[in-house]
Amino acid sequence: MTRIVDPTDERTPLRRALAVRPDRIGGAVALLDIAKPRGDVFLDRVEQRLAQRLPGVTLKRYRKPTFAKPAPEDLLRSIAADNGFVIEALAD
């Protein structure tokens, strides 16, 4: 019989439930640009269309300093605190 030492981190990934889907869109919507080329072009258009369709909603623009690294904690916290929704432009 062979035994092996587990070479992994031995952790089970957390399963998180999806957030409950709201009936209506209200409050603020974050538009997050990860700083990839042309991500801003995509979000400009999204912002324009959403402003037409959802006049009561506040649209807020955010941008990661670099797409090559995870978003800074402060940025994530401020997006979560001030918005009910996020649209992220991954660009790739």
Partner: protein, 530 residues
């Protein structure tokens, strides 16, 4: 010799259990059947048992079940022959030679210990036993015994066995979860099925092999050396050792693997980005210092290719840790669109002795005698640069500059770090003109410089730069003609010398996003040297 010896409980040839210590003096004799010196000793053990057994626990401790039975039969033994075929008691009592003879006090603390056969030791032992037991010494035909005989190796120190016993001992350095495979399960297939390999077979990290790998470092196996993105998992030395076994490393490579992982898991290096990018990047490792020779690394013919164990397995171990502990698996968090062969392994020593310049680690502030790893987040494969014609440093560096301009895209300038590997023949051509590395870098910058007008995005080649990147809105003709070198700064061109002595070629590992917004190269001294 005052501490009590490890306790045990073993069965004899009549399946009676003997515990140690049992509240009175004991004589423990470790033996194995195929050892002539043990056979020479057996009648003395039997005699001691018959003479002193009423007052002292006299036992033989045999190292394999079949052999124990043979000894009992051959010598007509009545002394308890305890079965230590699992060798755990032999291991716990540090028995390296059989026979090993240990006399203990009632507490279990040893008072006498010797190994092999020495007539005077035995004669003194019988006198001690008689005194302790308050009994007469038995009549022994001492003249029939030689003055001395060397013992034999204990089964507990045989190759492979010692590591197993170390792994199983209660003070083992191993704490990771262990997975038991079914009897009919092929361990190599198991490693594939569980997604633990890079696509090539790995050596199953059995506790014995991991224990043997851990002999390569004096550091605590449970020391957490880094937190590995993207899973942000704590990385212990034990996990590094398990993955190093899988990669095929020797124990003496372990300190190098550890140093690389410490360098890779820094904010500066940004391994999360390097592994997660849809572009192609991987840690490219350069090794400097005397350790290159000690590990038998290849820095000559085919240095960037296959064929050398240390080169191949050190880089592979690093990648397996990033995969298995960090969770950077292709298709999951590792998102490279294409990848490259360097995603398996990429670890190269510099041929410092063949270089006309200071080696990489000395340029970075270390001393020549330091052993240093430097990691770069670069493209996972080298690109060959051919120039068999240039005979001057100026001309050859011009060729290198033109070739380097093609990295990423010829129109993308203001580029970051690359690793240029210059072969000995190319190094000789440059050195003949007495050029320094700084001169070489400046010439590459000069030869790769292009006017802004040629770098802009256009219908001919969509990729390129924008006027905004140069701080321009409405440029003059003069501004359009401003020449921009390929690299943000000359130091971004990292240079090492390595490779075969025949062949006018160099190679470059193209860059990724380098600098504080991407990945910065990191050097780290290897603290432990085998």
């Amino acid at each position: 010799m005052t501490d009590s010896l490890p306790g045990f409980s073993l069965a004899d040839q009549h399946r009676r259990t003997h515990a140690f210590p049992a509240g009175r003096s004991a004589l423990l004799v470790f033996v194995k059947e195929d050892c002539p010196t043990c056979n020479l000793t057996m009648p003395l053990i039997e005699a001691a048992w018959r003479a002193f057994g009423a007052a002292i626990d006299v036992v033989a401790i045999g190292q394999d079940a079949t052999g124990n039975a043979a000894l009992v039969e051959r010598h007509g033994l009545t002394v308890p022959m305890l079965d230590d075929s699992a060798l755990k008691v032999s291991y716990a009592h540090d028995v390296e030679i059989v026979p090993t003879i240990v006399l203990t006090e009632a507490s279990g603390a040893p008072s006498t210990r010797f190994a092999g056969f020495d007539k005077s030791d035995w004669q003194k032992l019988f006198a001690d036993l008689a005194r302790i037991a308050g009994a007469d010494e038995p009549r022994i035909e001492w003249s029939a015994y030689p003055a001395s005989r060397p013992g034999c190796g204990s089964k507990s120190v045989e190759p492979g066995v010692a590591e197993r016993l170390a792994a199983e001992a209660s003070d083992s350095r191993l704490r990771a979860r262990q997975i038991e495979l079914g009897d009919r399960e092929d361990p190599f297939e198991f490693m594939f099925e569980r997604g633990l390999t890079d696509g090539l077979p790995v050596i199953p990290p059995t506790p014995e092999r991991v224990a043997r790998m851990l002999a390569g470092t004096r550091r605590d196996a449970q020391e957490v050396i880094a937190t590995v993105p993207p899973n942000m998992a704590p990385l212990t030395i034990e996990k590094v050792a398990a993955n190093s076994v899988m990669a095929g490393c020797k124990p003496e490579y372990l300190p190098v693997v550890i140093a690389v992982l410490e360098a890779v898991c820094t904010q500066e290096f940004n391994i999360h980005g390097v592994m997660a990018t849809t572009g192609g990047a991987t840690p490219i490792i350069v090794v400097n210092g005397p350790i290159r020779h000690r590990l038998g690394m290849n820095m000559k013919i085919g240095v960037l290719g296959s064929g050398n164990r240390a080169n191949a397995t050190i880089g592979r171990a690093v990648k397996l840790v990033l995969r298995n502990v960090g969770g950077a698996r292709p298709g999951e968090i590792e998102r490279t669109a294409l990848g490259g062969p360097g995603k398996y392994t990429a670890c190269y020593p510099e041929w410092e002795e063949r270089s006309p310049w200071e080696p990489l680690h000395v340029e970075r502030g270390f001393s020549r005698e330091d052993n240093v790893v430097t990691v770069f987040g670069l493209e996972p494969g080298p690109r060959l640069i051919v120039d068999q014609i240039s005979r001057t440093a100026h001309a050859l560096a011009g060729s290198l500059g033109m070739a380097l301009e093609a990295c990423w895209h010829p129109k993308l300038h203001g580029y970051g770090e690359v690793l240029l590997v210059i072969s000995p023949e190319h190094a000789d051509t440059i050195a003949r003109d007495g050029w320094t590395k700084a001169q070489l870098r400046n010439r590459i910058q000069e030869a790769s410089a292009r006017p802004i007008r040629e770098l802009l995005r256009d219908a001919n080649a969509g990729e390129g730069m924008t006027l905004a990147q140069f701080g321009l809105t409405n440029p003059s003709a003069e501004q359009f003609d401003q020449r921009i070198p390929k690299f943000r700064k000359p130091e971004n061109i990292n240079i090492i010398v390595a490779g075969g002595e025949a062949g006018k070629f160099s190679s470059v590992f193209g860059g990724w996003f380098s600098g504080p917004m991407g990945s910065m190269s990191v050097s780290r001294k290897i603290e432990e040297v085998p």
